[in-house]
C-alpha cells in the first residue's frame, strides 16, 4: 500500500542505499549528485514552509541560500588564510568548524529573514512576490560588486569545514552529514506543521480575517514562519558551498529562487516531502536528459507547464492518485 508516508520512507532509504552502492562501486560523482539533491531539497523545504503551508510566494529565497553560502565561505576562507575577520570586540579569524559555521549561518539568515519579513509582509499578493524578488536582486548585485570576496568571480574555499574530526572531503561522509541534516529538518518541519503554530500558519493561507477573528495576529505567525524558513534555506546554502568548495553570486540569482519553487511544485505543493522528490527529479532529469540533449530545458519547461495546468498535485499527488484508481 503506497501512502504519502511510505513514499517518503522509500525515498529516504533509496537515497541512502544508492549512496552506499555508489561508494562501493567507486562512483564519487554519483554521491556528489545525491548530496546536491539533498541540499537543494533542504533549501526548498525551507521555502515550502512559507510557500506551501503559508501561501507566501517568496521569489527571493535565494537571498537566504546565498547568505548562508557567503557566511560559510567567508568564515572558512578566513580560517584557511588565517586572516582576521573582525578585530573588535574580540579577535576572530573565521572558523573551519562546521558547528560554528552552521551557528553563524542560522543566526545571520534568521536576522535577514526577520528584517526582510518585517518589510515584505507589509505587502501581499503580487507586491509580495515582486518585493522579495527585488530584495534578493539587491543582495545579488551587492555580492557581484563587492570586491572583498571575489565580486562577480566568487571565491574558492579549497577545503570543506570539519565536524568532529570526520574527513568531510570524503564524499560519502559529507553526504551523510547532509543526510543527517535532511532528517533533522524533515523531523522539525513535520513537527511544526502539525503543531498549533502550524495550524495557525496553514489558516493564514486561506483567510486572514478569520484568523484575526479568533485572536491570532497573522503577521506574527507569518513572520516567525519566514524566519524559520530563511534559516533552513540558509543551512542549505552553507552545505552547498561546502559541497562545491566555491562561493559565487549565482547562489543569490533569481533563477535559483525560481528553481526552489519548481522543486516544490514538481514534488507536490504543500507536502512535507514534496521538495525532496522534486529536487531528486530535477537533478536526475538534468543529469540524464542533459546527457542526451543540451536542450533538456525545453522539456523541463513543458513538464512544469503541464504539471501546473493538469497535475497540480505533483509527483506525490500523481502516485497517490494512481494508486487510488488502481
Amino acid at each position: 500500500m503506497i501512502s504519502e508516508k511510505n513514499i517518503s520512507y522509500i525515498s529516504l532509504i533509496s537515497l541512502l542505499l544508492i549512496a552506499i552502492f555508489a561508494e562501493y562501486f567507486n562512483e564519487p560523482y554519483l554521491i556528489t549528485l545525491l548530496s546536491r539533491i539533498i541540499i537543494f531539497s533542504i533549501a526548498a523545504i525551507g521555502l515550502n514552509l512559507v510557500l506551501g503551508f503559508g501561501n507566501l510566494i517568496s521569489f527571493g529565497h535565494a537571498a537566504f541560500f546565498g547568505l548562508g553560502g557567503y557566511i560559510s565561505g567567508i568564515l572558512a576562507i578566513h580560517a584557511f588564510n588565517s586572516e582576521l575577520l573582525i578585530s573588535w570586540p574580540f579577535l576572530f579569524s573565521g572558523s573551519n568548524n562546521s558547528l560554528i559555521i552552521w551557528l553563524f549561518t542560522i543566526l545571520f539568515c534568521s536576522l535577514l529573514a526577520l528584517l526582510l519579513g518585517a518589510l515584505c509582509l507589509r505587502t501581499s499578493g503580487v507586491y509580495f512576490i515582486m518585493i522579495t524578488l527585488a530584495f534578493a536582486q539587491m543582495l545579488y548585485y551587492f555580492a557581484i560588486s563587492w570586491p572583498s570576496y571575489g565580486g562577480e568571480d566568487g571565491f574558492s574555499i579549497y577545503v570543506r569545514s570539519t565536524l568532529f574530526g570526520i574527513n568531510t572531503m570524503q564524499g560519502l561522509n559529507f553526504f551523510l552529514i547532509c543526510f543527517f541534516w535532511l532528517l533533522i529538518i524533515l523531523f522539525t518541519i513535520n513537527k511544526v506543521v502539525k503543531s498549533p503554530f502550524g495550524l495557525a500558519l496553514r489558516a493564514t493561507r486561506f483567510n486572514l480575517t478569520r484568523v484575526k477573528s479568533v485572536g491570532i495576529n497573522p503577521f506574527k505567525i507569518q513572520l516567525i514562519a519566514f524566519v524559520l524558513s530563511g534559516a533552513i534555506t540558509g543551512i542549505a546554502g552553507s552545505l552547498y558551498v561546502d559541497l562545491n568548495r566555491f562561493v559565487s553570486p549565482s547562489l543569490l540569482s533569481w533563477q535559483m529562487s525560481g528553481e526552489f519553487i519548481v522543486f516544490i511544485l514538481i514534488g507536490g505543493l504543500g507536502r512535507i516531502y514534496g521538495p525532496l522528490i522534486g529536487a531528486a527529479f530535477f537533478v536526475t532529469f538534468e543529469q540524464f536528459f542533459g546527457s542526451y540533449t543540451e536542450h533538456w530545458q525545453i522539456f523541463l519547461g513543458i513538464i512544469i507547464i503541464s504539471t501546473v495546468l493538469f497535475a497540480k498535485g505533483g509527483i506525490i499527488g500523481f502516485i497517490l492518485e494512481y494508486r487510488k484508481n488502481e
Binding site: L51, N55, I57, F59, L119, R122, T123, G125, V126, Y127, I129, M130, I131, L133, A134, F135, Q137, M138, Y141, F142, I144, S145, W146, P147, G151, W254, G258, I261, V262, L265, L269, H295, W296, Q297, I298, L300, G301, I302, I303, I304, I305, V308, L309
Partner: protein, 307 residues
Amino acid sequence: MTAELLIEQLLNGLQFGFMLFLMSAGLTLIFGVMGLINLAHGSFYMIGAFSAAATFAFFNSFWLSLFASFSSAAVVGVIVEKTIIRKLYNRDHLDQVLVTFALILFFSELIRWIFGAFPLYLDVPKILNGSIEIFDGIYYSKYRLFIIFVGLIIATFLFFLIGKTNLGIQIRAGQYDREMISALGVNISKLYTLLFGIGAALAGLAGALIGTIQSVEVGMGEPILILAFVIIVIGGIGSIKGALIASLLVGLVDTLGRFLIPWVLQTITNPSDAMSIGSAIGSMLIYILMAIILILRPTGLYGKILS
C-alpha cells in the same frame, strides 16, 4: 566634469528609460488588466531581437527587420495567450509564476536550438550611423536619438490608445471590473488576447532596437525584465503614466548612478575600487528606490487598485 558630458549622460539615461518603457508598458497593462504576473515578457524581447537578426541576415534591411521584430513577437504572444496564458487568468499567482518561468526556459532553449549559442549582430542603417551635433558642441549618436524618438512615438500612441479610444476605455474598465464590462457586451477574452499581443509586440520591438547596437543572444531578456518589474511596482500596477515616469526615473537613476557615483568615489579612492563600490551602490540604487517607494506608497506612484 563638463556640461557636455552631463547632457550626453542625461540623454543616455533617457534613451535607456524609453527602452525600459517599451518593456514595462506591456507588462503593466497585462498585469493591471488581466491580473497576470508574466515572467515570460523578457522572452518576447528576445524573440523580437532574434526575428530581427534572422530577417536582417536574409534581406539585409534594418527597417524590414524592425517590422519583423514586433510582428513576430505579437504572433508568438497571441499564440501563447490563446494556448496557455488564458488558462492562468483565474489561477493564483503561484501558478502564473511557475508557468511563465517555465515559458522562459522553453523559449530560451528553443531559440538556442534554432539559432545556436553564438550571439548575432545587426548593423545600424547608414542613415542612422554616426552622430549629430544637437547643440553647440554636443554630439549624440543618431541611432540613440532614433531610439528616444521611437520611444516618444510609442508613448504617444499608447496614451492615445488607452486614453482616447474606445478600446482604451474598455481596457481601463476591464481593469476596474472585469465581470461588469463583460456583462455590458464587451468580449473580454478577445480584448485580453489583443492586449497581450500588443504587449509582446512592444517588447519585441525593444529587443530589436537594443539588439542592433548591442548583441542578440539567448538570455538577453531577463535582466531587463527584472528592471521592468521594478518599474511597474514603482509606477503602480496598471498605470501607463506610472510606467512612463518610473521608466525614465529608473533609466536616469541607473545611468547617472553608474557614472556619477564612481566619479565621486574616484576622488577618494583608486579607480578600481571606486568602480567596484560605485557600481555596487549604483546597481542597488534602483532597488533601494523601489523599497522606499513601496514603504511610502505600497501601491506605487500611480497605482490605485489593489486586486
